[in-house]
Every structure is written in C-alpha cells, then in structure tokens.
C-alpha cells in the first residue's frame, strides 16, 4: 500500500515514551502499510527497546496482525453466529470457488485477499461481508461475482 522505509523508527519514536504501547505501535504500522514486515519489527525493537522475539510473540498471537502483504482488496467474510445461521458459509464457498483460493490466502495477481473474521457487529444485516471497509449486507452467493467485478474495476482505474 504505502512504502515508507523508516516507518518502524518513526512509529517507535512516537510510542516509545508511552506505557502499554507495543500493540498500538503495531496497529499504526499495519494501518499505513497493510502488514508488519521484518524490517519494521526490527526498527521498532531498536527504537522502543523491546526484544525482537517479544514483538514476534505478540504479532503471531493476535489474529489481527498480518506478516505478509495482503491483496489489494481484502475480503472479510463474517463468521459470527447470526451470519452462520443465515448461511454465510455458502457465500464463503462461492468466494473460494470464484477466486480459486482458500481462506487466509491471496490471489496470485495480488488483487484479492480472502479472510474470515469474527463478528463485525452488523448482525442485523446478516449475512455480511466487508471489502476494504465497505460493508455488504444480506449477502447471497449470487452477489459474489458482481462484488468481485466491482473491485476489479476499482483497481483497474488506479
């Protein structure tokens, strides 16, 4: 997404003096870059004076953090209870078969990333999918190809 070579140092400097800030710093890196790579983690370790192992311990524990670059359009399929009861598994299957990838993977062209997420809190609209922050409610498997086309279009222009 955005390439900033000294992101780790910058963020580390900002959060260094505050308490309980490692997770906040990692959030900030991921929000800029889309993931946290090895170099950022190294820089963060140096500037915040936290062992690198400790940073990876945290990075690998929490579902939210990504260690490799995700696709440009991140498709999050909600697997909360309401969405489960209303058949979001069928929507997920359709995404899988359309994109020919499994959950947690990206398409070879780097355009789509498919992931399952815990409740996004729009249970009234179940079943729900979120693509790059845009929410699609009352999903059916038939809507999947149109959504994919919509995002292909977005990144074609860019």
């Amino acid at each position: 997404m955005v390439d900033e070579p000294d992101l780790g140092c910058k963020v580390g400097d900002k959060w260094r003096k505050k308490r309980g800030s490692l997770i906040m710093a990692l959030h900030e890196i991921q929000s800029v870059k889309g993931y946290v790579d090895w170099k950022d983690a190294m820089d963060l370790a140096k500037t915040m004076d936290i062992p690198l192992a400790r940073i990876y311990e945290v990075l690998t524990f929490y579902n939210f953090f990504k260690l490799v670059a995700p696709g440009k359009a991140v498709i999050s399929v909600c697997t909360g209870t309401a969405c489960y009861l209303k058949g979001n598994d069928k929507v997920l299957e359709k995404f899988k078969s359309e994109l020919k990838i499994k959950e947690g993977e990206s398409t070879p062209d780097g355009l789509f990333h498919l992931q399952c997420v815990r409740c996004v809190g729009c249970c009234g609209l179940a079943p729900v999918c979120v693509v790059n922050g845009k929410t699609y409610g009352r999903m059916t498997p038939e809507q999947v190809p149109a959504i994919l086309d919509e995002w292909r279009e977005v990144f074609k222009e860019a």
Binding site: I23, T81, T135
Partner: protein, 559 residues
C-alpha cells in the same frame, strides 16, 4: 484584566446545557439519521449529505436541524430516519434510500413546517413508515440506551443538554467516595459483561486497597462474542455516558487514571470515543482539579487485536501491557494486583454506562426494575431467525416470550421457534418450552446457559443442534490461547469427536467421552474461556440428545 467569572462560565456545565437547549429550541424540526455501523454500511452517510443539501437549497437551515445519531435499535430495517416536527407526531422511516430521503424532505418535512395538523404522507412514503407504537418500541425500557438515537454522539453539549455530567458533579461535589460505593452497592447493579459480580462490591474491594502511587480503572470493551454488539452500540451512540461512568468509578475507588480497551474491529466506536475524550479535555472535564474539586483523572485508549480471550480480565491486562493476551491464575485479583501490578478495577462498557443514571435517579429507582437478585435493565442484541432483529433494552426478568415474540415479532413465517441461545460460545441453548422463563442471571444458569454479555440468538426448526455446537466449539478452540492443557487439548479432542459424530461415524461411547472431557475442562481450565467452552455442547446434549444419537452408527439400536 481577565474576568475569571467569565472564563469559569464557559466551562460551567449548566451554562453550556442551557445555551444548547436554547439553540435546539430555535428549530421547528429535527431530523435524526441513524449513523451507527449498521446503518452507515447501508449508506446513511450519503443520506445525511443529501438531506443537508436539500435544506440549503430551500433555505431551511435555520428551521430544521439534522442530527447524526447512534443506533436506533432496528438495525435490520436500516437506514432509519426519524422526523420530529414541533407539535406533531414523530415519524420513523425504514429502508431509506436517496429517493425516499428526498421524498421525506419534500413531501413530509417541508409541508409539515407550514401546515397545521399531522402531515398526510403520499403512498410512496407510507410503505416506509415504521409505527412507533409497535411492541418493538413500546415494550422496551431504555436506561442505558436513553440517549442513543436521540443525540449526536460527537457533540458533548448535546449530552450535557440531556443531563450529562451532572452525575459526575453530584459525586465530586456532594458525596464522599464511600457514599458513591454504597449507592452503587445498594442499587444492586451487577457486572454486565457476563460474570454478574456485584459492581458495588468490586468497587469496595478496589477502594480498600491503598493507592501507593497509582490505581487504575479499566473499561472492558473487548466484546468478542459472535452475535453481540451492545457495547459497540453504546460506545457509538453515547460515548460520554461511558466516560462519565468511568470517572465516577475512578472517584469512588480512588483511581489515578482510566484505560479503555476496545476491539480493533470497531473503528467507528474507537473514533467516537477518541473525539469524546478530546471534547472532555477541552471542557476541562478530564485532567487536573476537575470542576475545582481537587479530583484529577485522565483516560487513554488501547486497542485489542482480534483475540477473544482478551475479554478475560487478566488476559486483557496483559494485552494492555503489550504482551500476549494469556490469562493468569487468580488470586491475586486485579483489584489487588492488576495492570503493571498496580491495583486495578475492570468494568464492562454497559456496567459503566449505567452508573450516571443511578447517581442521578437513586438506587431505589434502579432497583425498581428487574427481579429480586437481578436489578435494572439489560441490553440485548437480538439476532438470528427473528423478524425484528436489532438492539433492545428490557428490564431484567422480562420473559423470553416477550422478547422474542412481542419485541422481536417472532420467527419469520413458515418456521417455528426451536430455541434461543444466550451467552455466545460460553453459553447454552434454551429450548422453546422454557419460553415463559424470566431472563435473569439465576434463571438462565438453572437451565445451563448464562446471561453473558447480551447476545440473544433466535434459532428456528431448520437448524441442526450438533452443527451449532460444533460451530461454537470451533470458535473457542480457535481462540484458545494455549496456555493451559485442559483447554488447549480438551477443546481440540472434543471438536474431533463432534466432527466424527457429525459425519455419521460416531458411536455411543463417543458421547460418553465427550461428557468426560467436558467435565475435565470445566474443572481444570485456567480461565473462563476453557471453563465455559464445553457449555454449548453440554446444553445441546442435555436438551437435544436425540439429534446426537440419530447421527450415531449404533444410535438407532438404543431405542
């Protein structure tokens, strides 16, 4: 010479509230647009922009105001818009799109401003009207959600105009910390995160620990249960109520600062809370010597990162400290040794949102709602196979029948109610035969479920209970932190057995084995996650054993 009286007036909450009320009074009409995550994702941003544009075109900006509010409750029918014209009946519109929004402005608001009597709506609008007299609205009792849907959550002055921060003033200026603790204790408020521990008792324990250098109050906003979004809606719709509750709690226990721990999956709630905190700082409600009383308090936000176990208080504390969110054995309880080993008191979002109301209206008023042991109201996220899915608030002790069939409008046509599920992955199912059971901490426990944080999922006869149990177990196995063996290994083994049964390969002895592992997990797991993870399996086994036996290889012989 600077006039001190003038400056102080600027920060006087009565003065701010009075001015705001005067300002609101000037408008003839208020249009409330729901602006919470649910309605926002259905496009309420565009509707607000469109309504504003139409107002400008018609030079009505000094007569009509548009308020972007928090959740109005009926999320499935969103986006929602409520029109309130002075002297006329309020009208609520559902499923609003840009055409309907334009029609609302041109055929309801504009004629309504000039004509006497109620507005006659054209047919195209009539089918979008939701009656405010339907049981979904009239059967509810709003205490915590009183402001959500009525104020702009990003405007502190609107909160003050509805009595905001008066409870804080009352506590700081007229009561000792002990008196605040006593009042909350007397009200019977219990933790709304699921545990149901008396909030007053918790505060008393925390207050007793001497403050050496620091003491913390922590707000647990790590709402992880799938199918629950009460805390998110409260934070989005009325963030100041939570901040005020936290400050009163801080005063009561002698805390030096407060921490909000919020799920990273709730960006809108975090953003609104951040803004609310900034507003408080500007109005000198946070910082040193608040309201000239010598009480100093500051708050900060820390985000979660997608770990369900962080809803457990010791895991949450580790997560704020910047470590893996793994629980540790208790005691020592956080009230003695919590965040950075300092005494800390952890309260849920909804619990804190109740506090200011109790302070203003008294313990007896609060205790007048509910049952003998469960006082006050509870917010539920009513979802699943139900007509009116949304956010509701009812007095404790309301029956399941009233909630599902009257407020929720029952299951959709052609289906019958099979059960409801409460407490998320830590709870259990309650079959339809218990429909007349009152919803309170004790009654739910008796039938093998728990109150939990407030997710209530309606299940119809098309759902298979074995798969449902597997769904929940799948969740807890995935979210187990792996620190203690009973939860890490037991959960996985139970899941394998369930899978085997679900594929039709199970035998009778597998059911026995399931129960044995479940028992061990309940007794030996370190934290609530492992102790309660078998609940969905045990409760479905208790009420729907035939669904399990029907799937067994040797199941039919049993009959």
């Amino acid at each position: 010479m600077v006039d001190m009286a003038e400056i102080l007036k600027k920060f006087d909450i009565y003065e701010i509230a009075r001015k705001k009320l005067e300002e609101i009074e000037k408008y003839d009409c208020s249009i409330y647009c729901c602006h919470s995550t649910g309605c926002k994702s259905s496009g309420s941003d565009d509707l607000i922009a469109l309504a504003k544009q139409i107002l400008e075109e018609n030079n009505l900006t000094d007569k009509v105001r548009i308020v972007a509010t928090g959740c109005m409750g009926l999320c499935a029918q969103g986006p929602l818009i409520r029109v309130e014209i002075k002297g006329k009946k309020d009208i609520l519109f559902k499923h609003v799109n840009s055409d309907i929004a334009r029609a609302i402005m041109e055929k309801c608001v504009i004629p309504g401003l000039s004509s006497a009597g109620d507005v006659v709506l054209p047919d195209e609008l009539k089918q979008h009207v939701l009656s405010l007299d339907m049981p979904f609205f009239t059967k509810q009792e709003k205490v915590v959600l009183k402001n959500a849907g009525h104020i702009d959550p990003e405007d502190i002055e609107e909160y003050m105009a509805r009595g905001g921060y008066l409870a804080l003033e009352k506590a700081l200026k007229t009561m000792t910390p002990q008196e605040v603790v006593e009042l909350i204790k007397k009200s019977g408020l219990r933790g709304r995160g699921g545990g149901g521990f008396s909030t007053g008792m918790k505060w008393e324990l925390a207050a007793k620990v001497p403050t050496v250098d620091e003491k913390f109050i922590i707000c647990n906003g790590d709402e992880g249960d799938p199918g629950a979004y009460m805390d998110r809606s409260i934070l989005e719709g009325d963030p100041h109520a939570v901040i005020e509750g936290m400050m009163i709690a801080g005063y009561a226990i002698g805390a030096t600062s407060g921490w909000f721990y919020i799920r990273a999956e709730y960006p809108l709630a975090v953003e609104r809370l951040k803004k609310a905190i900034q507003e408080c700082r500007k109005k000198l409600l946070l910082g040193n010597n608040i309201m000239g009383t010598g009480f100093s308090f500051n708050v900060d936000i820390r985000l979660g990162a997608g770990a369900f176990v962080c809803g457990e208080e010791t895991a949450l504390i580790h997560s704020i400290e910047g470590a893996r969110g793994t629980p540790r054995p208790r005691p020592p309880y956080p009230t003695n040794k919590g965040l950075w080993d300092k005494p800390s008191c952890v309260n849920n979002v909804e619990t804190l949102a109740n506090v200011s109301k109790i302070m203003l209206k008294g313990a007896d008023w609060f205790a007048s709602f509910g049952t003998e042991t469960s006082k006050g109201t509870k917010v539920f996220a009513l979802t699943g196979q139900v007509k009116h899915s949304g956010l509701i608030e009812v007095p404790m002790g309301t029956t399941i029948n009233e909630i599902v069939n009257e407020i929720g409008g029952g299951v959709p046509e052609g289906k019958t109610l099979k059960a409801i599920q409460t407490g998320g992955p830590s709870g259990g199912v309650i079959p339809a035969k218990y429909m007349d059971m009152p919803v309170c901490y004790e009654a739910l426990k008796k039938v093998g479920s728990i109150m939990g944080s407030g997710g209530m999922i309606v299940i119809d006869d098309s759902s298979d209970m074995v798969s449902l149990a597997k769904f929940y177990l799948d969740f807890t196995v995935d979210e187990s932190c792996g620190k203690c063996a009973p939860c890490r290994i037991g959960g996985k083994q139970m899941l394998l057995l369930l899978d085997k049964i679900n594929r039709g390969r199970g035998k009778k002895k597998d059911l026995e084995q399931l129960k044995k592992i479940a028992f061990a997990m309940q007794k030996a797991s370190l934290c609530g996650l492992g102790q309660t993870a078998p609940n969905p399996v045990l409760s479905t086994l208790r009420f729907y054993e035939e669904e399990y036996t029907n799937k067994l290889l040797d199941g039919k012989e049993k009959e």
